[in-house]
C-alpha cells in the first residue's frame, strides 16, 4: 500500500491549490479525483480571477495539475470509493481497487450532492434511511435492504452490506445503471438485485417501512443513500464529521471536527468561484503542513 503525508480527494481548483502547497512543502501528496467532475471544467472563460486575464476552465485545470506535479504531487485521475480510518492513518480505496494510506485527508470534492428528491428522506434519516454502511449496517443483520444509486459508489455500498445481509437490492431511482465491469461481475456473483424504479416517497410510521414508486409500494427494512459519486458528505457521515445538510463544517483553517481530516472549497459551503475555492485550498494545505511539520506557520509569499 502506498503511503502519503496527505491525500486530497477532489481534482478541482481547491484540491489542486492545496496540493501545490503541501507538495511544495515537500509533503508526499496524492490527489485523487476526476477533473471532468470539477465545475471549473465546464467554464468557458474565467475572467474574474486576480492574476489571470482570461482562461478557459479546462486549460486552467490542466495548468493547475501541471503546477502540482511540478512540485512532485502525484495526481491520479480516478474515483474514490471508500475512506476508512485505521491506527491513526486513513485508507482510501479507489474504483480501480487500489488502496492508499494518508496521515491526513483533505476533502475537496466540490458541490454537495443534490438531494434525492425523494419525499420524507429527511423525516426518516437515521430511522430506516441511512448513509453509512459501516456505521449502521449492523442494525440490518439478515434484513431486507436497498441501496439507492446507480454508480460504482452504490455498488460498493451494496457489496459492503453483504457483511450483514444477503438480501440487497440496488435501486437506480429512474437513472441508468453505470457500473464498471468488475462491479457488474461482483454484483452478479453475489446475487444483488437491480431495480430501475423511480422512488416517489419513503413511507412508514416511526420508521421507514416502504418505498413508494409510481406503480407499487415495496417493503424494505432499511435503505442506504448512495446517489452520484461519493461526496464529501458521504465521507463526513462515515467519520462523524460535523455537517450542515450536505455541507461539511470546517473552521477558518479548514479543520473539521475530526483530527487529521480537513475540508476545502464548495463542499464546505464556499461560493463556487475559482478565487474563493483556491483560497480555501491554500489554507487547508497550510494547515496540513503546520500539523505535519509542527511548525507555527509556513510563510512563503514567493
Amino acid at each position: 500500500m502506498q503511503k502519503y503525508d496527505t491525500i486530497i480527494v477532489g481534482l478541482g481548483p481547491s484540491g489542486l491549490s492545496a496540493a501545490i502547497y503541501t507538495a511544495r512543502a515537500k509533503l508526499q501528496t496524492l490527489v485523487l479525483g476526476k477533473k471532468e467532475e470539477s465545475q471549473l471544467w465546464l467554464a468557458h472563460a474565467i475572467e474574474n480571477y486576480f492574476g489571470v486575464e482570461s482562461m478557459q476552465g479546462k486549460d486552467m485545470l490542466e495548468l493547475g495539475i501541471k503546477q502540482a506535479e511540478r512540485f512532485k504531487a502525484k495526481i491520479k485521475e480516478t474515483e474514490v470509493i471508500n475512506l476508512k480510518q485505521k491506527d491513526n492513518q486513513f485508507i482510501i480505496k479507489t474504483v480501480d481497487g487500489e488502496e492508499f494510506t494518508g496521515k491526513t485527508i483533505i476533502l475537496a470534492t466540490g458541490m454537495p450532492i443534490k438531494s434525492s428528491g425523494i419525499k420524507n428522506e429527511d423525516k426518516f434519516a437515521g430511522r430506516g434511511v441511512h448513509y453509512c454502511v459501516v456505521c449502521d449496517g449492523f442494525f440490518y443483520k439478515d434484513k431486507k435492504v436497498a441501496v439507492i444509486g446507480n454508480s460504482n459508489y452504490a455498488a460498493e455500498q451494496a457489496l459492503e452490506l453483504l457483511t450483514f445481509t444477503k438480501d440487497v437490492t440496488i435501486i437506480s431511482n429512474g437513472k441508468e445503471f453505470k457500473f464498471d465491469q468488475k462491479y457488474k461481475d461482483a454484483l452478479d456473483k453475489n446475487k444483488i438485485k437491480l431495480m430501475p424504479d423511480k422512488i416517489i416517497s419513503f413511507e412508514g410510521d416511526k420508521k421507514m417501512q416502504n418505498l413508494k414508486t409510481k406503480t407499487a409500494e415495496l417493503n424494505f427494512d432499511g435503505v442506504y443513500m448512495a446517489i452520484g459519486s461519493a461526496g464529501a458528505a458521504d465521507f463526513a457521515r462515515k467519520f462523524g464529521i460535523d455537517t450542515k445538510g450536505n455541507i461539511i463544517v470546517a473552521d477558518r483553517e479548514g479543520k473539521t471536527n475530526v483530527p487529521g481530516i480537513y475540508a476545502a472549497g464548495t463542499c464546505t459551503g464556499t461560493v463556487s468561484q475559482v478565487a474563493s475555492t483556491v483560497g480555501d485550498g491554500c489554507i487547508a494545505g497550510m494547515s496540513v503542513i503546520k500539523k505535519l511539520k509542527e511548525k507555527e506557520l509556513y510563510v512563503d509569499y514567493g
Copy 2:
C-alpha cells in the same frame, strides 16, 4: 464629491480581487492605495498560485489593476488619510485632499501595523495611549498631547487634534519625518512641534503620564499612536469595528460588526498568500454585491 457604491482601501491582491467582482457586477467601484505597499510588490516569483505557472509580484499586481479597470473599476494610487461616516455614507479623504463617498467600504489594507515596540503601550491603551482622535480627542481639551508617528497619517492626526488643544507634538520615535509639502506647511503654520526622539516606555500609575526616552522623561497628558500609514486597525478603532489586537474581526462573508464595512486579506488575519487573500477579496466583493443588489447570491463561475 465623487460617489461610489463601494470604496476599497488597499491596492493589493485582496482589494483588487474584490474590485474585479464588484466592478464586474456593475457596481461603481473605487480602489485607493499604493501598489508598492502591497507585500506582493516585492515578491520575486509567485509559483504557488493555482492557474499561474510563475509570475513576478509586480507583474501580477499590474495585471490585476488592468483586470479591475477592464470592468470599469477606478483605481487611484494614493494614500488614504481619513475615513468618516455621515448619513449612512462613508467619506474617505486622501492625502491629496480629495474626498470620496461610498455606500460601502472594503478594508484590504494588508498586514497590520507592527507594534511600536514601546513598553507599556498595551498597559495604558485607552488610559493615556489612544488611537482615534475623533473618539478620544475630547478628553484632552487644552491638554498637552503627542502624536507618535512620522508620516502624513501622523500629521493628519496632529492637525485633527487642534480642534481640542493647541499643544500638539509629533514624535517620530527615532524615524525620519516624511511629510508631503502641504502637511509640512500646515504643521508649521499651526505651530505643531516635531521631536525625533525614540521612546523606550510609557510611564505612569493608573494612567500614562510620561514618555521615557534614552535621555529624558517627558510629560504628556495623552498620546496618539499613528505609526506608518493608516491601517485597517486605525480605521477600525474609529468606527468601533471589533478587533483582536491589530487584526480586524470579519466573519466568513467578510462582514465586520459595522454595517457597510467589510474587510478582507491579511488585515483580517488571513495568511499572507496570494491565493488566500484573493479568495478573501472575492468573498468580500460578493458580500457587497449581495448587500447592494439585494440578491441572494451572485453566482457566476465564468
